[in-house]
């Protein structure tokens, strides 16, 4: 059964989608953590749900809807240029209001009842070829933009006072990064769903930075962990028909917990 399924087209599609999406989620994770934007990621994801539900309602597919919703919210957050507590409270306010709208859209949507469940908890095994093409294209654009802005973005994220004085365009970079974050969140919703978004965006980065203080190694580890748990999660769900999201979030957490324990033991 396992080996037969492994040859199935939909499993290939979901594995490719899983690898690509988790790689870019792992890539932006360390910057999200350095900029303390974990909550913003969650907020963007919930509005991605509103976008996806709205997309379903007007006959677009969920991926495109989520992309529009997340990128719009990311851009808005970036343009407002909020920091710290103010950013947290504004995110909370907008998130709650937007999610209310999402609930309405979902209840009005007359299609498959599982659509809502899939958006909330992930549905990587239902990714279509057309959706996969969108995922690949968006991931490629995100990676290309990141490659161009990487160093000044990192500077602005870890040492903002010095970066401003050195002429790094921190405001512009903040907006660009928020938009990229929106795109990555929309992609990740396909794999983990809205509610478990942080399992790929935060957990691998958090585990990686417990392992090393080298920026380059942290990013490599974060990507490696995200890709490993996603691939492992999808394969596990073939062997045992539980949701892949369950396996992904569990593996992700176990790696984090093991790293923490290892560090605590070493510190003693």
């Amino acid at each position: 059964m396992f080996w037969e399924l492994l040859r199935a087209h939909f499993i290939h599609t979901s594995l490719i989608a899983g690898v690509v999406v988790s790689a870019i989620a792992g890539l932006i994770g360390p910057i999200v953590v350095a900029r303390r934007m974990g909550f913003a990621v969650h907020g963007i994801a919930e509005l991605g749900l509103t976008g996806a539900a709205g997309g379903l309602l007007i006959g677009l597919d969920a991926t495109t809807g989520a992309l529009i919703g997340s990128v719009a919210v990311g851009a808005a957050l970036g343009l407002l240029g909020l920091e710290g507590r103010e950013r947290d409270s504004t995110t909370g306010v907008v998130l709650a209001a937007g999610l209310g709208l999402g609930v309405l859209f979902l209840s009005l949507y007359q299609g498959y009842a599982t659509a809502g469940f899939g958006l909330l908890f992930g549905s990587v095994t239902t990714v279509s070829d057309a959706q996969l093409r969108v995922l690949l294209l968006v991931a490629g654009v995100v990676a290309a933009v990141l490659a161009v802005i990487w160093r000044p973005l990192w500077f602005a994220s870890v040492d903002p006072d010095a970066a401003v004085a050195r002429g790094v365009p921190t405001r512009v970079l903040a907006v660009i990064f928020a938009v990229l974050m929106g795109a990555v969140v929309a992609e990740t919703i396909q794999v983990t769903g809205v509610l478990l978004i942080l399992t790929l965006v935060i957990t691998p980065a958090a585990a990686a930075q417990l392992m090393t203080a080298r920026p380059g190694a942290t990013i490599a580890l974060s990507v490696a962990i995200a890709v490993t748990v996603t691939t492992g999660g999808i394969l596990s769900s073939i062997a045992k028909p539980w949701p892949p999201t369950f396996f992904i979030s569990t593996y992700s957490f176990l790696i984090y917990a093991a790293t923490r324990l290892h560090r605590a033991a070493k510190a003693r």
Partner: protein
């Protein structure tokens, strides 16, 4: 090299309801070490921000290294006011110093051998090599501060602006950091502007002092400015400058003007500004 490093002419800065300093005249030559003293809220950091091109003056003219101040001038090194790094931040000391050299450049950023050598030299110059491989958030305030100075000096700036770089350093570290800054300016001819609340650690290095107090200012050599009559006139109240065991102590100066609502006096003050040197 005939251009002054800093040239302020009748420059003023402040907020809508409060003037920080007015009609400030200050010329700093290459190789000069100037300390900016004054209580909290007198506009010391604002002065650095003006020189960095991050803020405009409300009146007067400013020239920095022969040009109008502009953000990202690579000829300026800057030590920001201390804000300690998060313990969890993924950044080693060596990475932070590299950012001072190439953090503004686009791309992913492979480090060239030349850059690595310059960073090594800067770390060595500040005596920070030993802990430059550790996560920066795990270091003490003093160690972080040495790395900050290394970050500012690594690009070999012609003008170094430092905002309280000696804060949280023990006396012997203060001496090391001042020594590193001083030897940099002697070997490169860079000008130094250092904001500080304590003149004592830099007393033997400093050429001139700019003293800011509630909209007024005085500048001159340390002997001229740190004198009872100068400061008494500046503050408009009896201030005594005494030397106790080689340390300068200022007695009677209002501790802070941060909450001064007395901005109505400012224009009057302006015409009384003490100017020396």
């Amino acid at each position: 090299m005939s251009n002054p490093a800093v040239d302020l002419h009748r420059a003023s800065a402040g907020y809508e309801d409060r003037i920080l300093w007015a009609s400030l005249d200050l010329q700093i030559s290459p190789g000069e070490f100037v300390a900016v003293l004054g209580a909290n809220g007198t506009g010391k950091t604002t002065l650095l921000k003006v020189l960095l091109g991050l803020r405009r003056v409300s009146a007067g003219t400013v020239r920095v290294l022969g040009a109008s101040p502009h953000r990202g001038d690579r000829r300026i090194g800057y030590v920001p006011q201390q804000r300690s790094f998060d313990p969890g931040l993924v950044l080693r000391g060596v990475d932070m110093v590299h950012l001072g050299l190439s953090g503004h450049r686009w791309g992913i950023g492979r480090r060239s051998l030349v850059d690595r050598a310059r960073v090594e030299r800067a770390l060595d110059h500040l005596g920070a090599t030993e802990y430059s491989g550790a996560s920066i958030g795990s270091l003490s305030g003093g160690q972080q501060q040495r790395l900050r100075v290394a970050q500012a000096l690594v690009s070999e700036p012609e003008l170094l602006l430092a905002d309280e770089p000696l804060l949280s350093l023990d006396p012997s570290s203060q001496k090391d950091v001042v020594g590193a800054i001083d030897s940099h300016r002697h070997s490169t001819g860079a000008a130094v502007v250092m904001v500080t609340h304590d003149i004592n650690p830099i007393q033997s290095s400093v050429d001139r002092i700019l003293y800011l107090a509630a909209g007024r200012w005085a500048s001159g050599t340390p002997d001229q400015v740190l004198a009872s009559d100068t400061l008494s006139e500046l503050y408009g109240t009896q201030v005594d400058v005494v030397t106790v065991r080689d340390r300068v102590v200022i007695v009677g100066a209002p501790a802070s003007t941060e909450h001064s609502s007395d901005f109505g006096h400012v224009h009057e003050i302006e015409s009384h500004a003490v100017q020396q040197g």
